[in-house]
Amino acid sequence: MSEKSLNLNLRVWRQKTADAPGEFVTYKLDNVSPDSSFLEMLDLLNEQLIETGEEPVAFDHDCREGICGTCSLTINGIPHGKGRMITTCQLHMRKFEDGETITVEPFRAQPFPVMRDLVVDREPLDKIIQAGGYIEQRVGSAQDANTLPISKEIADKAMDAAACIGCGACVAACPNASAMLFTGAKMSQLNLLPQGQPERYKRAINMVESMDDNGFGNCTNIGECEAACPKGISLDFIAMMNRDYAVAKVKRFFSGAA
């Protein structure tokens, strides 16, 4: 419970449509409760804009508790704003100073075109999953779950990878708009588990190729993605992907397949 309210200058990216040129517009917003979340602050801004007859700022959001991965926003240059392991909806205004100017930009990456204001299209991440981020397992044909023991270490590691919420902050944080942390995590979750072995190398090749086809950039191992990730996904999973893909290519080369 904080008593003092904040007066802020918000420098927000406004862009009417995907094709329109965008620009920064600065708004003054007073009496923001330090207890409110960043998105609630934007709600407040929108109420103020609507009152004055202006169009509200469009932004993506849904669960508002840091799990759905819908909220995006790059706040003062950092995807999801300052503070480790949080999403924008979990960023609270008490982390800002009274009188501060806050720059709010959409996630920037060629594969994530801006649709309006701060809303971007992250469908290419879905496309990577569609290319191979699954286990082919028809509903109803599974054996009893406990016939396949999985060591706790492997299960925990797979869970570490599976914690990815698909928000795209890794891509947004990367100066190359690379999606390797996302792809690495999604691939490694399945490639670590015994259930994922039959499709392991096919998956590695298909997901990497889809990632490239969707226009994501290359990884230069600088680690910004890991730092921006609200779930703390480790670079280890990129290394695992690198290894699996290399093995997959070697196997394919010697198997004579195209």
Binding site: D35, E47, L49, D62, H92, L125, D126, Q130, P149, S151
Partner: protein, 645 residues
């Protein structure tokens, strides 16, 4: 209204087997001729779309989110129940069935619930095979935890993100079908109407949320899996986008809405901090294992630092009222106890709308007894989450908690095959009324969503489609006048909304609705509060339709238009909820009528009059809906009174 539940013949444990044995089938080569529309991409919708795609049907799946992976199933934390009996503690399909019926306060259909318990085991098998990383023991076997309302450990979990992991499993299966072209996915599409051709559901109308385009979609069957309606309270633990629109539009087309008054309030949420707030965050109920719930005895202590309030001035309300269950009293009872002290003016925390809403959940004694390390190990992530949201350190200062709406048991009426009373229109997951009666047990929502999507609809839809001759499959024409009418109605309603250009933002009207609903139709309801609420809702609806302000146009990405459409539906739906609550003159599960309680404040059911399902038929906006009743026959379970003293 035909409310034949179509429960199959035979003893309880044979019903589903018999049903499957008699269902019609579609030849694999013919399946591609049939098309199915699925609205919603959560566990139920996404699961159904994936499973039907695998079977070879042409599936179109719609969601309002930017990706099917974001459906609100993702937010479930605790776990998923299944009658696996891996812990060898006496669990069985029958026991899960029994617990669910009893937990639901005897307001659900035996046949449906038994099937749910029966397929629960296959769900776990399926999810593990798909790569869901459930928690494991060192021996490599699946781990379980125990959950409220059960005496066995049958809950499977994946850290605190079980919902997300299960949803991702579904999403991955769905993605595979999308990649194969079996399922066409339409993100950022909101369903705005169901189209009935000669009384049979044959398609939907959607709005493309990016460019505002209104589109017609035809299919041989339509599945609504659009979730629950807790956002009618504005503040709830649901996602900001959750809404009643899809179910409500189906209702307006003639689908029966069953038991809308059965809403569940979760006791351990982080209290509201101020008027700015957009959502309430739930913390695991497990906190009550070690925390003690109290409020100051004296009103003048409420603003004080709780650590300065001496022991003798603290009212440990749950321990006082329910000595045997104490702080572990069930959800509805704990929630009401907290509300009562706040209504008495003994609430704590910031003043919001003239009232302090919160009670303390104090870990002081537990920390003294077990040490801070142990408490940290047990609840560290929850304490961190609490501190992130409130800025308070719960190791040093008691947590504040308050109840919040988080699940709705009511929904579209469905028969055993999950078909509504409209032929060809199915409802699944939280959107339907089927398995949870008047109250849902913890870790059962995920179970029901996956059961409906993976294991029920793929059979029952096949049965429905099997009755359509292959020559007639896929023949619905979107140029049929029924589609044109529906499209025009949608367009008219949108241009009406846009043209009002009043002064009130959709959000402010939603907030106002939420206040009415929470204060008068929330945890405790009375004839007086409900009739008052209906009047207020009507007045607010009038204000909405004369004073709402939506900037921008209909043919663009317009967040306020989206919101306004949903609020408009909530404003109509809220009235139905009140009518149902008014009509159900008993206290039962999540529905508590103050007129029906024992001297100690326990709920009093009236099984003689209300051991049934109230199904409402639309008769026009503002007109009193028509009530139909589906009687519930309890052949295997004896109705009993719940007691937690």
């Amino acid at each position: 209204m035909n409310l034949d539940p179509k429960t199959p013949e035979g003893p309880l444990e044979k019903k589903w087997t018999n049903a499957k044995a008699n269902y019609k089938l579609v030849n694999p080569a013919n399946r591609r001729k049939y098309s199915v529309i699925v609205v919603g991409s959560g566990l139920a919708g996404g699961g159904a779309a994936a499973a039907l795609g695998e079977q070879g049907y042409n599936v179109k799946c719609f969601c309002y989110q930017d990706s099917p992976r974001r459906a609100h199933s993702i937010a479930a934390q605790g776990g998923i129940n299944a009658a696996k009996n891996y812990q060898n503690d006496g669990d069985s399909v029958y026991r899960l069935f029994y617990d669910t019926i009893k937990g639901g306060d005897y307001r659900s259909r035996e046949g449906n619930v038994y099937r749910l318990a029966e397929v629960s085991t296959s769900i776990i098998d399926q999810c593990v095979a798909q790569g869901v990383p459930f928690a494991r023991e060192y021996g490599g076997m699946l781990d379980n935890r125990s959950f409220g309302g059960a005496q066995v450990s049958r809950t499977f979990y994946a850290r605190g993100q079980t919902g997300q992991q299960l949803l991702l499993g579904v999403y991955q299966s769905l993605s595979r079908q999308i990649g194969l072209g079996q399922v066409k996915m339409y993100n950022r599409h909101e369903m705005l109407d169901v189209v009935l051709v000669n009384g049979v559901a044959k398609g939907i109308i959607t709005r493309n949320m990016v460019n505002g385009k209104i589109e017609r979609w035809a299919a041989d069957a339509v599945v609504i899996a659009s979730g629950g309606y807790s956002t009618v309270f504005f503040l709830s633990t649901n996602a900001a986008g959750c809404n009643v629109t899809a179910a409500w539009r189906a209702y307006k087309r003639g689908a029966g809405f069953a038991n809308p008054c059965f809403t569940q309030i979760h006791p351990t949420c982080i209290p509201q901090e101020g008027e700015h707030q957009s959502k309430l965050t739930l913390m695991s109920e497990s906190l009550r294992n070690d925390g003690r719930v109290w409020a100051p005895k004296k009103k003048e202590d409420c603003a004080k630092n709780p650590n300065d309030i001496p022991e003798e001035d603290r009212d440990y309300l749950l321990e006082r009222k329910y000595p045997s269950f104490g702080n572990l009293a069930p959800r509805d009872i704990s929630s009401r106890a907290a509300k009562e002290v706040c209504d008495e003016g003994r609430g704590v925390g910031p003043v919001v709308a003239g009232e302090r809403r919160g009670v303390y959940l104090d870990f002081r004694d537990a920390i003294q007894r077990l040490g801070r390390k142990t408490i940290e190990a047990r609840y560290g992530n929850l304490f961190d989450m609490y501190e992130n949201i409130t800025g308070e350190n719960a190791y040093e200062r008691p947590m504040r908690i308050y109840p919040a709406p988080h699940y709705t048991m009511g929904g579209l009426w469905v028969d055993y095959n999950l078909m509504t009373n409209i032929t060809g229109l199915f409802a699944a997951g939280e959107a339907n009324y089927s398995d949870h009666g008047a109250n849902r047990l913890g870790a059962s929502a995920l179970m029901q969503g996956l059961a409906d999507g993976f294991f029920v609809l793929p059979y029952t839809l096949g049965n429905y489609l099997g009755a359509i001759p292959p020559g007639e499959a896929g023949k619905t024409d979107i140029n049929d006048p029924a589609f044109a009418d529906a499209e025009n109605a949608v367009k008219e309603s949108i241009s009406k909304l846009i043209s009002i250009k009043g002064k009130s933002s959709p959000r402010s009207l939603h907030t106002a609705l939420g206040k009415i609903m929470w204060n008068k139709v929330g945890m405790a309801r009375s004839k007086e509060s409900l009739t008052g609420a209906i009047e207020e809702i009507r007045a607010l609806r009038e204000k909405f339709w004369s004073d709402v302000l939506i900037p921008g146009d209909a043919d663009e990405l317009n967040i306020e238009l989206e919101r306004a459409g949903r609020v408009a539906d909530h404003l109509e739906f809220a009235e139905l909820l009140c009518f149902d609550a008014l009509d159900r003159d008993e206290s039962c599960g999540g529905h508590f009528r103050v007129e029906h309680q024992t001297e100690d404040g326990e709920a009093v059911r009236h099984d003689d009059r209300y051991a049934n399902v109230s199904v409402w038929e639309f008769t026009g906006v503002g007109a009193e809906p028509k009530k139909h009743v589906e009687p519930l026959n309890f052949e295997n379970i004896k109705l009993a009174v719940r007691s937690y003293k």
